[in-house]
């Protein structure tokens, strides 16, 4: 097994869970350690219960893992919820003046901090947090200097006095722990690497900037709002027009307008906002104006659980808008992929003049991951397809410019407004090659059929440029786990655990949902001994889609729809349960009450 170490910080919203989380993340990544962070929270600004898990280690950390090594409860509620879940070798640092441990767990080191004795709590309201961070670093075997440096940056804006006050408090915690608590068995190592730490939302926003997005608009909606925040904050530096619009109907139509005028245009939302955008996606397809829409899934239906994750929007994406039209639909596999996937999708939609959807979810959107800065490539390949941006010497080619000229590929050269000699109308109504409506006065079945077939020919073109999925892990395995999008990391770790326990397992992870490459998937799966589809929804949306496209029926399903992501042991235990023939459908229970 890979060596990892996880810190869990719990408290009420507004109690300052985020700051110690940020400090740990910075210290870990600057030591050259990878990390993965997931914050379980609720739709409340003050109160409730927030639980942040930061898992770190020298190798890539792909998910939150199964165990917490260090618990820092900031209130009694957090202590009561989490202490019982700690296991041998873990520790719990807490304010002994306000929080009682309750039941003691064998093998768990309780580390009470006499907060009022160590710091002036009348002056500093979050002194307990800073003391705990100091104590934690001592127990992890990290020198105090690293913390001093980060605190200096954290409080720089508030002035030297605040910096030194916090450094003094942190040092008191550090020294107290050195004198009174037992260090962890595994001191955190140091490597020569340096990583950037970012959320999926920041990654998708930056991926948009890298792709050359010049127009971004949105209506705030969790968990997609982080994309808007990054775009808005960096708009002027990056030369991107960023607008907050009155609703998601306005969002998608404004994005299409900008795209039609010639820029790369993007927007993001969650399931509810996406529902409002569906008519617009059809418009993009019919006018053949490329646009990229990001859907960050949260637990539905309706308003659902706004702060919880799910993979429940797949069929909405597949069925978005009435009528048939070509589209690209891709689900990023991890936070690094959130960056990479955006330029890829833009190249496809620009080339094939159709809408593209990036299907993310809260787990990636709001989770954080360490990424090698080299993997954040701001100079990706840009293919804008057949775009006419300037008048040619022969403005009309063969005499008349036909915006929707019937071609073998289905792609017709697209002129942007402002170019002399190429005026035309792009219509949501069915139209002829020259853009004239064939929907009203004289409908024409022959022309209608020709235009449908022209657009739909692009489907084969898209399929040809998207790579089919590949099988990871040992070829001849006892079990093949099939997942899509954000479950990549947790399934990968589950496979590793299964292999250690003597069950050989491999993984087929789907990134491109449209085009799906059903034939290639069937070729892989017909060799598999036992197949299980793992997904974060109730009805097995991907399983149903795969069946509709390929007639493939897996041996079993692992599904989770409680709002929380899979942990590796959920999958491991479910696989064992299914391999022993107990069930074909496992729904693991989430033990942590968050």
């Amino acid at each position: 097994m890979k060596q990892t170490f996880a810190v869990g910080i719990g408290g009420a919203a507004g109690q300052g869970v985020a700051t110690p989380g940020d400090i740990f993340a910075k210290i870990f990544s600057r030591r050259g350690l990878h990390l993965n962070a997931y914050n379980a929270y609720q739709s409340i600004i003050r109160g409730g219960h927030t639980f942040l898990t930061i898992r770190t280690g020298p190798e890539k950390v792909t998910n939150m893992g199964d165990r917490v090594d260090l618990l820092i409860p900031l209130n009694q509620d957090a202590m009561d919820r989490h202490l019982g879940l700690l296991t041998d070798g873990a520790a719990c640092i807490y304010n002994s003046e306000t929080i009682k441990p309750g039941v003691e767990v064998e093998g768990v080191q309780l580390c009470p901090l006499p907060v009022a004795k160590l710091a002036d709590i009348t002056r500093n309201k979050v002194a307990q947090n800073t003391l705990a961070v100091g104590a934690a670093l001592s127990m992890m075997g990290i020198g105090f200097q690293a913390l001093e440096e980060v605190l200096g940056e954290q409080f720089k804006k508030k002035g030297d006095a605040v910096v030194s006050e916090n450094v003094d408090i942190a040092r008191a915690g550090y020294d107290y722990a050195t004198a009174n608590f037992k260090p962890f068995a595994w001191p955190l190592p140091m490597t020569g690497n340096r990583y950037a730490v970012l959320s999926g939302n920041v990654a998708m926003a930056m991926g948009g900037a890298a792709a050359g997005v010049k127009f971004y608009c949105a209506y705030p909606m969790s968990p997609s709002t982080g994309v808007l925040h990054w775009m808005a904050a960096h708009a002027r530096k990056a030369g991107i027009m960023v607008r907050q619009v009155e609703d998601e109907i306005g969002v998608v139509n404004m994005a299409i307008g900008a795209a039609h005028a010639g820029v790369r245009s993007m927007c993001a939302t969650s399931g509810g906002g996406f529902a409002l955008m569906t008519e617009g996606l059809g418009l993009s397809a019919m006018m053949e104006t490329p646009v990229v829409v990001i859907d960050c899934q949260r637990a539905g239906p309706s308003t659902g659980v706004p702060t919880k994750t799910e993979q429940g929007d797949l069929w909405q994406m597949l069925g978005a808008a009435f009528g048939d039209y070509p589209r690209a639909l891709a689900a990023p596999l991890d936070i690094g992929d959130c960056f990479k996937i955006i330029p890829e999708v833009f190249n496809i939609v620009d080339r094939f003049q159709c809408p593209g959807i990036v299907l993310c979810d809260l787990l990636l959107s709001e989770g954080r991951l360490s990424v090698d800065p080299k993997d954040l490539d701001f100079g990706p390949v840009v293919d804008r397809g057949e775009l006419i941006t300037a008048a040619s010497s022969e403005p009309n080619g063969d005499g008349v410019y036909k915006r929707y000229k019937i071609t073998e590929s289905g792609i017709s050269p697209r002129a942007i407004p402002g170019v002399e000699g190429y005026t035309h109308t792009a219509a949501s109504d069915e139209h002829d090659e020259d853009g004239v409506l064939i929907s009203d006065e004289f409908t024409n079945p022959t022309k209608r059929r020709a235009m449908m077939e022209k657009r739909m020919r692009k489907v084969a073109g898209i399929e040809a440029v998207v790579p089919p999925p590949v099988l990871w892990g040992p070829r001849d395995a006892d079990v093949t786990l099939i997942g899509w999008g954000s479950t990549m990391g947790v399934i990968e770790e589950a496979c590793e655990i299964l292999i250690e326990q003597g069950i050989s397992a491999n993984q087929l992870q789907i990134r491109w949902l449209v085009p799906l490459h059903g034939e290639a998937i069937l070729d892989i799966l017909k060799e598999a001994r036992h197949t299980i589809i793992v997904e974060n929804n109730y009805s097995g949306q991907f399983a149903r889609y795969l069946r509709s496209e390929t007639s493939f029926v897996p041996d079993g399903h692992i599904r989770k729809y409680d709002g929380e992501p899979f942990m590796p042991h959920h999958i491991v235990e479910a696989v064992k349960e299914q391999m022993s023939g107990k069930t074909k459908l496992s729904v693991p229970a989430h033990e942590i009450l968050v």
Partner: protein, 298 residues
């Protein structure tokens, strides 16, 4: 809305002749709006490739197909949202939005209000016939109380929206009303609306000869009074404009109700556009800038 005048090429009426003739009913008020728009563009000498005509759905929204400019015939009610995107991506273009009262004040009401407060630099012409025509005669947001339609056969019991008062309240910086039968007057209002830097709203009485038998040419003619004929009327006076907007029945004002020029346009207020239209911008962000994006995360 503002526009750049073409210095060299002579722009003629024929430049704006559409690929097909309008399929509106004979006598429809929309014919008058189409010819007034074409005449205004010729008078202003704006080349057709620098104009984008954008509509929603409905009889009057077929407009872009009947004029030779760049055209977008979008979704029902969404023309203003699309047009805002077009203008922000290329603010060198002259953007005209055309549509009906159902499209603009009904299904598109939200975008109507927000486009005005944003002062998007475009001219929005509503061909207001107080009825749904293409769906064969239902009540519209501007249908008068008591009007009998297929959807309200016993008479409309809902108060109509007042587009002029609404535009004034929402912050439109140019608010006017025309009458399709008053060609010269209408053409003049369109020219003023195109020249205005900011959101220009032009509500045009455009009678539906097939489904609206209440608000006909004959009904409007004796009632409409040009604001321009009242020398004391000051279109810079917002309160006076609001007062005039409330008149109906006996005397219905047409002309320019209001104009102010001191509000920045949406594209003018955003420094990102200082270097020119985004449609022509380099896709690559300089490396020294992208480096700072990554350093923030370390």
């Amino acid at each position: 809305m503002a526009t750049a005048l073409a210095a060299t090429n002579h722009v003629a009426m024929n430049d704006f002749k559409g690929k097909v003739d309008p399929d509106w009913c004979p006598g429809c008020g929309d014919f008058g709006v189409l010819s007034a728009v074409q005449k205004a563009l010729v008078d202003l000498q704006i080349p057709n490739h620098n104009v984008v005509t954008i509509s929603g759905i409905g009889c009057s929204s077929n407009f872009p197909g009947f004029i030779n400019t760049y055209g977008m015939h979008t979704l029902h009610g969404r023309a203003l949202a699309v047009a805002t995107g077009v203008k922000l991506a290329n603010h060198d273009l002259t953007v005209l939005v055309t549509g009906g009262d159902g499209d603009g004040f009904g299904i598109g009401g939200n975008h109507f209000v927000h486009s005005m407060r944003r002062n998007v630099d475009l001219l929005y012409i509503v061909m207001d016939n107080q009825i749904y025509g293409l769906t064969t005669g239902q009540t519209s947001p501007t249908s008068r109380v008591g009007m009998k339609t297929k959807s309200m056969p016993f008479g409309n019991i809902e108060s109509p929206v007042n587009p002029i008062s609404l535009a004034l309240a929402a912050g439109a910086t140019f608010v006017a009303r025309g009458f399709s039968a008053e060609q010269k007057h209408l053409t003049e209002l369109i020219k003023q609306g195109i020249r205005h830097k900011g959101f220009s709203f032009l509500d045009v009485f455009s009678p539906c000869v097939t489904y609206n038998h209440d608000n006909t040419y004959q009904w409007f003619r004796p009632r409409v009074k040009k604001l321009e004929d009242d020398r004391a009327y000051d279109p810079a006076d917002w309160m006076a404009a609001m007062g005039k907007s409330l008149l109906w029945d006996e005397e219905i004002p047409i002309g320019k109700f209001f104009e102010r020029t001191d509000v920045p346009t949406l594209h003018g207020a955003e420094p990102v556009l200082n270097a020119g239209p985004l449609a022509h911008a380099d896709l690559r962000i300089p490396v020294d800038v992208t480096r700072t994006f990554v350093e923030e995360l370390m």
